[in-house]
């Protein structure tokens, strides 16, 4: 599904390249649950953004479903990730002005899904996540765990093949975090590929495979 070859990314500071990612090679197959670990500044989030096609890299090759991402134009890339990838953030990044229902619906609007169809899909997912009762509330009226639930619902609404989660439980207490991780596991069992970035050994353990990053390199794999 994902094939990264010799991926490097750097910024030039004072004429010297400062590597954020250095010669990263990785393959992720469909149905995997991969955790990326590493200390702060090791390049975890950058790697996730590169996989999510939100960030550029300076060198290397990236194939997504055998398509060469590094040769694509912005527009093609954005079409590709719109179709296949859902994002979950540590800070949830829900839109404060929109209700729960509208937040979840937003990706569908951008994919030109018909209104009636959208309704059905959002109702479906609200039901599944047990948040039907909260659909008219605004994000600020929810607890952190509930907000992240909405965030995941929003990531899942367009039925992506891959979910990229950047420390999804970072702002949650342990009980809420556990619930979220169980939800990921359940999704993975249903066949959704998941890549998460995390600090926590415990959460990382939910993954079937762990990559450890240090200073932009893959240090080891478990």
């Amino acid at each position: 599904m994902i094939e990264l070859k010799h991926i490097s990314k750097w910024v030039t500071i004072g004429g010297k390249p400062n590597f954020i990612l250095k010669d990263v090679n990785a393959t992720v197959n469909e149905g995997e649950f991969l955790s990326i670990m590493g200390p702060s500044g090791s390049g975890k989030s950058t790697l996730l953004n590169v996989i999510g096609m939100l960030d550029e890299f300076n060198e290397g090759e990236y194939r997504f479903f055998h398509e060469e991402v590094h040769k694509m134009k912005e527009k093609q890339r954005s079409n590709l990730y719109k179709q296949y990838i859902g994002f979950v953030f540590q800070a949830y990044h829900l839109i404060d002005e929109l209700t729960v229902y509208e937040n979840i619906e937003t990706p569908l609007i951008y994919q030109d899904v018909k209104s009636s169809e959208r309704k059905a899909m959002v109702a479906d997912i609200l039901d599944r996540f047990n948040i039907v009762g909260k659909k008219d509330l605004f994000p600020t009226q929810l607890s952190g765990g509930q907000q992240q639930l909405v965030g995941i619902a929003r990531a899942l609404i367009a039925r992506p093949k891959l979910i990229l989660a950047d420390e999804p439980t970072g702002n949650l207490n342990s009980k809420q975090g556990e619930e979220i991780m169980n939800l990921f596991k359940q999704l993975n069992d249903e066949g959704v590929t998941i890549i998460q970035v995390t600090h926590s050994e415990k959460n990382a353990a939910y993954g079937k495979r762990i990559i450890h990053l240090l200073d932009g390199r893959i240090e080891r794999e478990e």
């Binding site: 953030f89 990044h93 839109i95």
Partner: protein, 812 residues
């Protein structure tokens, strides 16, 4: 403390350069408009106030309706002033001015120079007006026949010195008169409703005095202190009964006022305060072109609005950016600052901004002053700004405007609760503010109203220019002062008409443009003149070829012709008169009038020989009234129909001919279409000034919108990032960011339409002939505003939409 405030205010200005710049540019242009228009308005309001007795001087106006013809005159009959002084002790003094004979030719060396600002005056001139003499004796200056007083600059023009008392001054080549100069007066200030360079004595005026029925004299009276002029006006009924009626009985068979009134006629006198004349009086026989209080109101209102628009920018940007300041407020409050001193701090900031803007505004005023003078027809001086009262005004301006613009933001910003701020809860909720939306709507509605107003003024001007007038104003060359050629005027006319490119020639003392000669006469449909059959109308004298040269059409009968010997008693009437008279076939009908000479009243009979198609002989503000032509030689003006592409050469040739006939007289010409355009100078000025103000208003409004859009985009950067990650395209985002603003502009359009329709409809009511306001005008103004707003907002929206979301979504 103040120093501390100023220091922080200054740093804040520097920190947010974009917003400071937007505020300062907006406020500076708003203030510049405001200062210029304040100067303009102050000048308009200062008219005639320089006279010591200004608040006790009144002019006598006459309102006459006779035979369906309405006359509102700035003049009255010659004995009126003296009668009032004699009969009523409330009248302290009176004086009369007479300028019906127009210009005078004054001899300088071997040449004659045309002087337009001339009048005859009573020797009591100085009892009424404050006209300081720098030479001569005010008490006696105009006492004797053939005396004249001249202005300082006129004295210098003719003699190179003001030491001219006792010198002689010669006027008018053919009926040459020599006057003795008995005084030199200081030039009349520009803010006077009369402009005078030469004032002749009333003593040897060629006029039959003592006639209460002829109205030709501007008459001013000074009332005793404490006399209410409205009450005094009631005495005019007595004056009419005692003096006017006996003469009316004698000359016009009018026996009583009741009978006169029953036939729908009216004769009334009233007083207008001297200081009201310039802005409130637009009558026939004014001493010059007056201003109009309406335009003073309009421009003052617009200036205040433009300044308000700039203040709104300040308010909106300050409150929109409040979250940036919230933390500072929170910390200061925690440190123990009182709210009052926070308010002071914010007010210092706004005042400092306005102060800097005022400095720029004064620079703008300095640069644009001459251009503004062109636009407004004034001679304002930049340096008059440094008179004490203006310095006070300029000093007060930043304080007042700073308070106006900064008051609301100051109280708003200082109201934050420190805990809420420090917990970071303030950030949300400032993105939308109802008040801010209302203010933006106000800005755009104002701009749209100005755009609509400007479009309509320009369309009305265009309508006037292209309207079928009943005569052809194109390619008619008018040579003034041909009366000065005396008995050679006919020969001059013939000579010029032989030039190549000239296809017709006529004497044309009466022209269908304002400030040409006019002549009112009383006629009757029966030989007995009474208030039932009598009526008043314009009586013009025309030459044989007049109708051909002016391109006027005869609808019935014929024009004057040399083939008919009887044309001296012939009358050509216009369609309007034909309609009023109601004759089935006017040609062949008779009209009667009385002619007064030494032997008394003589009846004259005229035969109507033709009807000329109605033509506009006054400005299109007025309808077409009844008018007739008699045959004659009104040779003080000669008109030539020209037919050439090389106008300049032709004019040179005509001038060369003129020089052979009158080497000592100035050659003065104009084109009929230019004279026509002159009638609409005020409207043209209004149009140009309106256009400028509309542009400034919309620029200010857009500056504000730009600032808001920039700030919104900044504020919503996270949301934009999220949406982008969720798959929003640039188009999606731009439309999302612009939508809110554009909705406001659309609401503004909806509000502006009825308001501007109402206002412009009112303005158009001044014109008897006017355009219909089409719906497209509003559509055009709305679309224009929308387009400008789209351009302003979308640049910021696109910039925001193109930002890489990764940058804005970093959690750290």
């Amino acid at each position: 403390m103040l120093k501390n405030y100023l220091k922080i205010a200054w740093r804040n200005l520097l920190k947010n350069k974009t917003f400071s710049l937007i505020n300062i540019i907006g406020l500076a242009s708003g203030l510049a408009c405001f200062i210029l228009i304040a100067l303009y308005v102050a000048d308009e309001l200062s008219y005639d106030r320089y006279h010591e007795k200004a608040n006790r001087i009144y002019r006598i106006n006459s309102d006459i309706v006779f035979g369906g013809n309405k006359l509102n005159l700035a003049v009255t009959s010659d004995p009126m002033g003296e009668t009032l002084k004699k009969d009523y002790p409330q009248v302290e003094a009176y004086t009369r001015l007479y300028n019906s004979d127009g210009y005078r030719m004054v001899k300088k060396g071997s040449q004659y120079i045309r002087e337009d600002n001339v009048a005859h005056a009573d020797s009591t001139l100085f009892d009424v007006f404050t006209i300081p003499l720098i030479a001569g004796e005010a008490r006696t200056a105009l006492n004797e026949p053939k005396t004249v007083i001249v202005s300082e600059s006129t004295a210098k023009k003719y003699y190179g010195t003001t030491d001219v008392v006792g010198k002689l001054l010669e006027t008018d080549e053919h009926k040459s008169t020599i006057y003795k100069i008995t005084g030199v007066f200081k030039d009349i200030p520009h803010n006077s409703h009369f402009k005078l360079d030469l004032v002749f004595t009333m003593q040897n005026l060629d006029y039959q005095m003592g006639n209460f029925l002829s109205h030709n004299f501007q008459t001013y009276i000074v009332l005793q202190p404490g006399v209410n002029y409205k009450n005094f006006e009631k005495n005019f009924t007595q004056v009419i009964d005692k003096y006017v009626l006996p003469q009316a009985k004698q000359f016009m068979n009018i026996n009583s006022m009741d009978e006169f009134k029953k036939a729908g006629n009216r004769l009334e006198y009233n007083l207008i305060p001297l200081t009201d004349i310039h802005l409130h009086s637009d009558r026939r026989g004014e001493m010059g072109v007056n201003g109009n209080i309406q335009y003073v109101y309009i421009f003052s209102a617009v200036a205040v609005f433009v300044l308000l628009l700039a203040c709104i920018n300040f308010m909106n940007l300050s409150t929109a950016r409040s979250s940036n300041r919230a933390k500072e407020v929170g910390i200061r409050k925690v440190l123990g600052t009182e709210r009052k001193s926070l308010v002071n701090q914010f007010l210092t900031e706004s005042t400092l901004t306005v102060f800097i803007a005022t400095v720029f505004a004064i620079a703008i005023v300095w640069v644009t002053m001459s251009w503004f003078n062109d636009l407004s027809g004034k001679q304002l001086l930049f340096f008059s700004l440094f008179q004490p009262q203006y310095i006070l005004f300029l000093a007060a301006l930043p304080l007042v405007v700073g308070l106006l613009a900064g008051g609301y933001p100051a109280f708003f910003l200082s109201s934050f609760k420190p805990i809420a701020v420090l917990k970071g809860k303030i950030n949300a909720g400032f993105k939308r503010s109802a008040l801010r939306n209302v203010l933006v709507v106000f800005q755009f509605a104002t701009s749209i109203i100005l755009i609509v107003g400007t479009i309509i003024v320009y369309r009305q001007l265009n309508f006037i220019q292209t309207k079928k007038l009943g005569f052809n104003k194109e390619q008619v060359l008018i040579v003034n002062g041909t009366g000065g050629l005396w008995n050679k005027s006919e020969a001059f006319k013939e000579d010029v008409s032989k030039l190549a490119g000239v296809s017709g020639a006529t004497f044309a003392g009466y022209l269908p443009v304002s400030n040409s000669s006019r002549n009112d006469n009383t006629y009757s449909t029966s030989p007995v003149m009474d208030s039932k059959n009598g009526f008043n109308m314009q009586t013009w004298i025309a030459d044989y070829d007049y109708f051909k040269v002016m391109g006027m059409e005869m609808v019935k009968g014929r024009a004057f012709s040399k083939d008919f010997g009887t044309d001296t008693s012939a009358l050509i009437i216009n369609e309007s008169l034909a309609k009023i008279l109601g004759f089935k076939d006017p040609v062949g009908q008779k009209l009667y009038t009385y002619f007064q000479d030494q032997s008394g009243n003589k009846l004259v009979t005229y035969n109507i020989i033709g009807v000329v198609k109605d033509f506009h002989f006054e400005s299109l503000r007025q309808g077409i009234g009844p008018l007739c032509f008699r045959l004659g030689k009104p040779d003080w003006v000669t008109a030539f129909k020209v037919n050439t592409s090389n106008i300049n050469d032709l004019v040179k040739n005509v001038e060369a001919k003129w020089k052979t006939y009158a080497p000592s007289m100035p050659f003065s010409y104009q084109f009929l279409d230019d004279a026509f355009d002159n009638m609409y100078r005020v409207e043209q000025r209004t149009g140009k000034l309106g256009l400028t103000l509309a542009i400034i208003a919309i620029v200010i409004a857009c500056l504000g919108l730009f600032g808001l859009a920039t700030y919104m985009a900044e504020q919503r950067i996270k949301e934009i990032g999220v949406r982008k990650v969720l798959g929003a395209s640039v188009t999606n985002l731009v439309s999302m960011l612009s939508k809110d603003f554009l909705r406001l502009v659309i609401i503004s359009t909806v509000l502006a339409v009825p308001l501007s329709w109402w206002a412009m409809n009112k303005w158009l009511q001044d014109f008897a002939y006017r355009i219909n306001i089409g719906w497209w005008v509003f559509a055009a103004a709305g679309v224009l505003a929308l387009l400008i707003a789209v351009l302003t907002v979308s640049s910021q929206a696109i910039k925001a939409a193109l930002t890489n979301p990764v940058k804005s979504l970093r959690t750290e």
